[in-house]
């Protein structure tokens, strides 16, 4: 195996009030080296839970990984001891960017302290070396270098600056995979664009892979090579980015693409979108989980669950193609 990350048939369950919520149900995908993958779906489809299980940040004791394996560089992340995982993987080789950076940083500690604390935990570096490196990386992400930013506190930075700072902090430990959970949702359109351009530039410059988690398909193709569409805890379609955009197979993917409002889209006609809502994770419908909302439902759809097709390039979980 020469893939960076390899997820095999992972199942995550939440036990809340004696009910079992199957948040992730048999998700498998791989991130090849220097390639990026996006998990796309509505809220409640299990994309964040998948990311959290890679980070081993699932809330305990409610959640547990029932089965499945996660390999990073051929190391089984789930079997590894937690201290080892924390020191060498989480925040070191696997960086994470969250949706709301303001709630990630401590508001009463200066940025310099937060950066040095983070780096010292993972790497043997002197404070002066860390600050030099920070200044270099600040230039890379277009933040003003020098003490300008380092001496400040999170509330003194604007939304765009703080998102750049988060990227810089993630890069401090030279990760090879960055998990980005809705990295631009909280930002303005103009800033959003700058952050996307920055992430694209970093990707080639630093040999990074991204695992992008988002519900907005419009930003996906800037960053990503492979797209996995998730629905109700399962992957319903995956394939290379161009294929997903040009010939989406699953009715859900088509609905999602249809729902994205872009300014180049002709708006004379009414967009239908996807009717209905995501089913609860404790009460999935029988058969194909999408069938109650599907415009192309057939008889078999409510009876048997379709399997993900075996196609190595572009797989889909739908009876239309079974």
């Amino acid at each position: 195996m020469n893939d960076l990350l390899n997820i095999e048939d992972i199942q995550v369950q939440f036990h809340v009030w004696n009910r079992i919520y199957q948040a992730v149900d048999g998700v498998s995908f791989t991130i090849p080296r220097r390639k990026s993958v996006a998990l796309v779906g509505e809220s409640g489809c299990g994309k964040t839970v998948t990311a959290l299980s890679i980070m081993r940040l699932l809330p305990r004791p409610q959640a547990h990984i029932k089965q499945g394996k996660i390999y990073f560089d051929n190391q089984d992340l789930l079997k590894m001891s937690l201290p080892r995982y924390q020191k060498y993987y989480r925040g070191r080789l696997i960086g994470m960017m969250f949706q709301d950076p303001h709630s990630v940083l401590n508001p009463v500690i200066s940025i310099q302290t937060q950066i040095t604390e983070h780096v010292k935990y993972h790497l043997k570096m002197k404070t002066s070396e860390i600050l030099d490196k920070a200044n270099n990386i600040f230039q890379l992400v277009n933040l003003p270098a020098g003490e300008d930013i380092l001496k400040k506190y999170p509330h003194q930075l604007s939304g765009g600056q703080i998102q750049r700072l988060m990227i810089a902090m993630t890069l401090m430990t030279d990760p090879s995979l960055i998990i980005a959970d809705e990295p631009t949702t909280a930002l303005d359109v103009t800033i959003q664009r700058q952050i996307l351009d920055l992430l694209v530039a970093l990707k080639s410059e630093r040999d990074l892979s991204y695992l992008l988690i988002t519900h907005n398909l419009a930003i996906v193709h800037y960053l990503v090579d492979i797209v996995c569409i998730m629905y109700a805890g399962q992957i319903v379609e995956w394939g290379p980015c161009e294929a997903i955009f040009q010939e989406p197979l699953h009715p859900y993917t088509r609905g999602l693409l249809d729902s994205v409002l872009t300014i180049s889209k002709e708006t004379k006609t009414k967009i239908r979108g996807i009717p209905g809502m995501v089913p609860e994770a404790c009460d999935f419908p029988s058969g194909c989980r999408f069938h109650p909302r599907c415009p192309e439902k057939m008889n078999i759809c409510s009876k048997e669950m379709p399997m993900l097709s075996e196609n190595k390039e572009h797989a889909v979980r739908c009876w239309l193609y079974g």
């Binding site: 359109v189 664009r193 419009a218 996906v220 193709h221 729902s259 409002l261 872009t262 300014i263 967009i271």
Partner: protein, 321 residues
């Protein structure tokens, strides 16, 4: 203009003063303020959808709050239809009469509903106040049906509903009193893409069926293009462009509008819209507010604040290449 206007705004200004420290008061420092609205004027035609767009901090939300009198403006006038009374100058009891005509839908569907009231209780209150009479439950069910919910939802609490459903209840609550203008402050930005479309379709449907005017505040140009008839672009508290939708998206006049349109990600073309770095927002002391970020800046821009041009579409600039 030949069309009937439902709401016209004239030179609305709002400055949030910064509080001074005690020693600053002693020294007689003149208090500075943050200009949230700077002489905003436009009108909303009857039965149309007007989109107000701009980056965060441009005063969009303050505008909504001023119009619903949740915030008091420093100066300016708002006229409703042909009434010759300035809405902003009315006392709050006089304004009550207009409250039912102007309703607001808030951004965050989770925060806007009282978690301890069921849908019925939420809808009952305005119905009892404004529509004295019997059959409140039937009326509530009728309104729920209008927003695409069934009678089952009447006795549910907010935590038992998804984000999209809560936003529907929010819209239902605004509709209980038969408003003639709805002010929606980012009504879908907290929702999923697929839900967004459903809510937008619903708003448009209601707007057409009841002939309500809608003032939609958004930062998403895609949404504005999908449902609005008119577009108003705001920058640092002032209106920089006021145009109708088709002209705006085909040929934006103000350099700022141009930048906004270019920076929107679109998935047809990977290399589209490389807007480059929009420089940081700085507020100059004089001259055009946009001059520090403008690619077409000339020396005259830094001297004088350009006025909003007469005619339509209106735009605020000195020279444009």
């Amino acid at each position: 203009m030949a069309e009937k206007t439902i709401l016209s705004l004239h030179d609305i200004s709002k400055i949030f003063p910064l509080r001074l420290a005690f020693w600053q008061k002693l020294l007689g420092v003149t208090p500075r303020g943050i200009t949230a609205l700077d002489k905003v004027s436009f009108s909303v035609p009857e039965g149309s959808i007007v989109g107000v767009i701009g980056e965060s901090g441009c005063g969009k939300t303050t505008l909504a709050k001023v119009l619903t009198r949740l915030e008091n403006a420093d100066s300016g006038e708002v006229y409703y239809k042909h009434e010759d009374r300035n809405l902003l100058a009315l006392t709050s009891s006089e304004f009550q009469k207009f409250r039912r005509r102007i309703q607001m839908i808030f951004q965050n569907p989770y925060g806007a509903l009282n978690p301890r009231l069921s849908t019925f209780q939420t809808l009952k209150e305005p119905l009892e106040i404004y529509k004295k009479g019997t059959g409140i439950e039937e009326q509530a069910i009728h309104i729920l049906n209008m927003v695409g919910l069934t009678a089952d939802y009447l006795h549910r609490y907010p935590h038992e509903m998804s984000g999209g459903q809560r936003q529907r209840v929010n819209i239902a609550r605004a509709l209980t009193v038969d408003p003639e203008i709805l002010i929606a402050d980012e009504p879908v930005s907290a929702l999923d893409v697929s839900t967004q479309i459903n809510i937008l379709n619903l708003l448009k449907e209601i707007q057409q069926k009841n002939n309500i005017a809608l003032l939609l505040i958004t930062h998403d140009l895609g949404i504005a293009k999908y449902i609005c008839d008119r577009i108003i672009v705001m920058y640092l508290g002032e209106v920089v462009e006021w145009s109708d939708k088709d002209t705006f998206f085909k040929k934006p006049l103000h350099p700022y509008s141009e930048m906004l349109i270019e920076s929107v990600p679109r998935f047809e073309d990977k290399n589209s819209g490389k807007a480059g770095a929009l420089p940081k927002k700085i507020k100059p002391d004089k001259g055009c507010l946009f001059a520090p970020r403008c690619p077409y800046v000339i020396s005259a821009c830094r001297e004088k604040r350009p006025p909003l041009k007469d005619g339509f579409p209106k735009v605020r600039f000195i020279r444009h290449l």
